[in-house]
Symmetry: D3
Subunit: 138 residues, 6 copies
């Protein structure tokens, strides 16, 4: 089995909070990540697809296609945006990296399957010290 | 001459804009970096001091002292903050990386000189592709 | 399933040897890593926990808690120490990166389970070219 | 289970093409990677072996042995070479990173098994944005 | 003085040789870098411009402009190309990283000066171990 | 002017202390870096030479020659060694990174000049956060 990973990057602002909690409770649970004036990150996104290479081309998927799907579905809605306020697929979700990985999986799985490609992992690096990966049925 | 560099990191939100311009003009000049809902970065800060090592210790400066000064003067006011709204030493300045480097220099020069240390360079990495350095009399 | 990884770092001295072998045999088997005067590394530690995010917070575990447990149990005993002479959980073990990964797993598994968290992987980078990972039941 | 990974590097030229297609069709399918005058990469290779550490040495495999096998079988034939024209184990294969990972697996599996070592993964980084991994029975 | 650095990347094939030397002499002087079948690299290019930020925008130069000039003048002619055969500004020059840095300086200096910007340094990383920088009047 | 930088790496143990101070005073001044049982680092060394490329080869210096000189003079005496106890050129010096940079400069300057090459900078990374550079007449 071949696993092919494409890295893309986006910069965004966010804030950890629940709107049914007041600022005090948000601060107690989420600490400085709950700052009402926002903070932000350079996120790195690693999308892994898996399967057998096409014998005709030796490729699992054309990287240009993979990159285009990730950009259209995920990077364009996220890059230089406010994750809490402006990203349709994060509406109603707490802006944690965990939830972001799940939402990105949901955005990518169908358009990749439409091209005959299996999504295997979505990994996000929020900083050089923190990484979140979402894998199904592993 | 010995140059000693300490790296520190901070995450922050910002927006490129002038408040005497409307959103349309800000957008025309600054592009997506002017998003009114903010975006953010993992900034890396490289502070370089220079001089001769102390013959008694072999050190230019105790790294713990250097790190403490940078944290108190620069990282604590910036980390997980909104650069435009919350950082005293950026008040009245456009939140560009260029201006940030100059402001950080101004914050650090005096407390370092007070410990007999010469500040030589302030360098900021805003992303893996963009770096700004401020050096005086180079 | 969500996998959350926290990176922590420590610097330590060590030496590869068995005390029931003489220096000559240790040198023959372990090479320069067996230098009786020690050598050392900047180790990077990647601790991965896994499970479902808490629906109330969107988090698998509060990163501050995870970092604190790793620091108390693993980093404080290892950082700026001699792995062969000073680290309680390495007593009686050869100071290989493989054994270090297993010992760190044993130090972390119980306190994490106590917080309802499943440990999934302990990975150590000894240099930019060498990595060891310990995973159970994979 | 312990997973030990060794990183090695090589620089090589290649071109994506099928010789039963003309340049126009190669260009249409493979884009600029099909340039008839070649292009090249700094490849990073991550070879992962797995098993239980030897209780006598605490090591899964002596890193010097692992590195020597990788260098003899894989790096020497690839480094500073043209993958399409000069690398015996790539003869008759399209020079994709996917095929390269499979061919390197085939080169390493037997000599490692001969030393009692199980090969678990071959991963190649072609650029900072593109990675291919080959794992069997995963 | 502010120094702003933009990183861009390109992949290319090359070969170290003089056509007035035979292969044997080229091999003796340049070693494996002289392979007649080419080899290649992922090059990283760091272009540094310097000056005073524009007080109206806080920027030394609009990064989009800087990136566009570098791409048009340098990256497009080099990326996925053969440096010896296909790059106009390397015609007649030995394809060393030193000569590449000088040629890129010559390509960029005039169009940057045309926008009122001073070029200060051109730095190329050919591998993680080798870097070449060209600076004038330093 | 061309600046060519070669990176080499070494792993070593060391301890910050003066033998005319007792352990208590060493600990008070140098903190955990003074642990009598040693600690260690993966050091990265960046040696920069400068001058004009040889018009016959396009090279400032043959990288194989530069690497060989650095390895013989600096890496072999330091790698997998105890800096305080085993490194001739550090005898009688406090094992600070500052002193190490100066000593490495002194080891390299003469053999490089003997080959007609000017040494311009010696830079050492002791960790991802701490760097020391030694430059003369800058």
């Amino acid at each position: 089995m071949i696993y092919l990973t494409r890295r893309e990057r986006f910069n965004a602002a966010h804030r950890m909070y629940r709107d049914d909690w007041d600022d005090e409770k948000n601060l107690a649970v989420f600490g400085k990540c709950s700052n009402p004036n926002w903070h932000g990150h350079n996120y790195e996104l690693f999308v892994t697809v898996c399967g057998e290479p096409d014998p005709e081309t030796g490729l699992l998927i054309n990287l240009k296609d993979l990159s285009r799907i990730i950009r259209q579905r995920v990077i364009d809605p996220l890059d230089h945006k406010n994750i809490n306020l402006e990203v349709p697929f994060m509406k109603g979700r707490i802006a944690s990296t965990e939830n972001l990985a799940i939402a990105i999986w949901e955005e990518l799985e169908e358009p990749l399957r439409h091209k005959g490609i299996t999504l295997c992992s979505v990994k996000i690096s929020e900083s050089e010290n923190n990484f979140v990966e979402y894998k199904k049925n592993h």
